[in-house]
């Protein structure tokens, strides 16, 4: 243990209202602490800069999955294991299940939460590309009330988000699409379990009347934020799923992403793999 543990605070307010009161009274002083699978790694490494945390793991208000005809709404504390256990998700949101199954190992999946994955704001996280491709919305709650915001646009820069210091991410909502979509999710890492992505790709679309419709593409690990690739989507919308479309998508995507070199991979590798993945996604649409 390389951190001085007594200098950290972890308080357990016990219910949502108490948490909201605390973060409203002292904005920026307290941060939520959910499954701990990211924060505890930093603690162990002596690199956890913030000192005061509110334990939200025990808040029942942030748990549970609600299904209506229009939406599926997940509590922010929904774990990766719970995502995989929800049978409806295998049908409606298979990329989210796949992302959950490829995040860490089983012990991580029992603790890591979707809400934590979002507000930890790692550009290399595995669920954000799927959530972006599924048009997720986030509920941000403070003492002043609740607001729903689109997940696309939530991350504004590296580790920067539009959430205010007095707000808590409480729920994630996914619209249930009636059209028959194809789903393509691919995580590229050094091994199947436990690895952090070099590139993570999520794409949905359908081919209707020989044309690509309702296309959504998102990538992880290739920008300072989880990136919805709107330029590439625009270039594809309405095109027949042929080689011309594949070449155009690769060309547009090449200009839309700016991957970095880091400990896990190189810019060149990420760039090429991203192009290969968009091509593979479109090949699957043709099949």
């Amino acid at each position: 243990m390389r951190s001085h543990v007594p200098s950290y605070n972890l308080e357990s307010p016990g219910n949502l209202r108490e948490v909201l009161k605390t973060i409203a009274a002292e904005p920026g002083v307290w941060r939520p602490f959910a499954g701990g699978t990211d924060l505890m790694v930093l603690l162990e490494a002596g690199k956890l800069p913030h000192k005061n945390y509110l334990n939200i793991w025990n808040l029942t208000e942030l748990r549970g999955i609600e299904v209506t005809d229009q939406h599926v709404t997940l509590g922010a504390l929904t774990t990766y294991t719970e995502v995989q256990q929800e049978k409806l998700f295998q049908i409606d949101f298979p990329m989210l299940c796949q992302a959950a199954s490829e995040t860490g190992g089983l012990a991580i999946q029992n603790r890591g939460t979707l809400g934590g994955n979002i507000v930890n704001a790692s550009p290399a996280a595995d669920s954000p590309p799927a959530l972006l491709a599924y048009d997720a919305e986030l509920e941000l709650v403070s003492l002043k009330g609740a607001r729903w915001v689109p997940y696309h646009g939530f991350h504004t820069a590296y580790k920067q988000m539009i959430i205010r210091p007095d707000e808590l991410l409480t729920r994630i909502r996914l619209p249930r699409r009636t059209e028959k979509l194809q789903h393509y999710y691919r995580k590229v890492g050094t091994r199947k379990a436990q690895a952090i992505s070099k590139v993570c790709f999520a794409g949905t679309a359908q081919v209707r009347e020989e044309k690509i419709q309702d296309v959504r593409i998102a990538l992880g690990s290739i920008a300072p934020v989880p990136l919805r690739c709107v330029q590439t989507e625009d270039a594809l919308r309405g095109s027949p799923p042929n080689q011309i479309a594949i070449d155009r998508a690769m060309s547009v995507l090449a200009n839309e992403i700016v991957p970095i070199d880091d400990i896990r991979s190189t810019s060149n590798y990420r760039h090429q793999v991203s192009l290969n993945l968009v091509a593979d996604f479109l090949q699957q649409l043709r099949a």
Binding site: M1, S12, Y53, G105
Partner: protein, 133 residues
């Protein structure tokens, strides 16, 4: 913010639970919290108030080893022993959820646990043997 792992080992002297990486990669510190396998190095002890914790010390029943433990002995699934408690717990967790796992399911069940000695084959064979009991 004390880690569950440290409280188990240093205050409760339950040293069967090992520390490998300390960052949730290796699974040596695996324990069950309310029946779910977790990495105890990533759990602040404040979050387990009122929870049931089961460590490797609670897997055997008296002198009667669990089928997984017996299989690890018979198949040579343990070498240096640091990963073994976590491997045993991962296998116990798998068999509790799925009594007849496929080879792929066994690999997935053990994927969060690293071993630097065995090359994994004997561990894998131990789990297969445990399934046959």
């Amino acid at each position: 913010m004390a880690r569950l792992l440290d409280v188990l080992r240093e205050q409760l002297h339950l040293t069967g639970t090992k520390e490998g990486c300390g960052e949730g990669e290796c699974g040596a510190c695996s324990v069950f919290i309310n029946g779910k396998i977790v990495n105890s190095c990533l759990v602040p002890v404040a979050q387990v108030e009122g929870a049931e914790i089961k460590t490797i010390e609670g897997i055997a029943t008296g002198n009667q080893l669990h089928a997984v433990q017996q299989a690890f002995i018979e198949c040579g699934g343990a070498q240096c022993g640091i990963c073994t408690p976590g491997m045993v717990l991962a296998a116990v967790d798998l068999l509790a959820r799925n009594a007849n796992p496929t080879d792929a399911e066994i690999r997935t069940g053990l994927a969060g646990n690293l071993c630097r000695c065995t090359g994994y084959i004997k561990i894998f064979e131990s789990v297969v043997r445990a399934c046959q009991r």
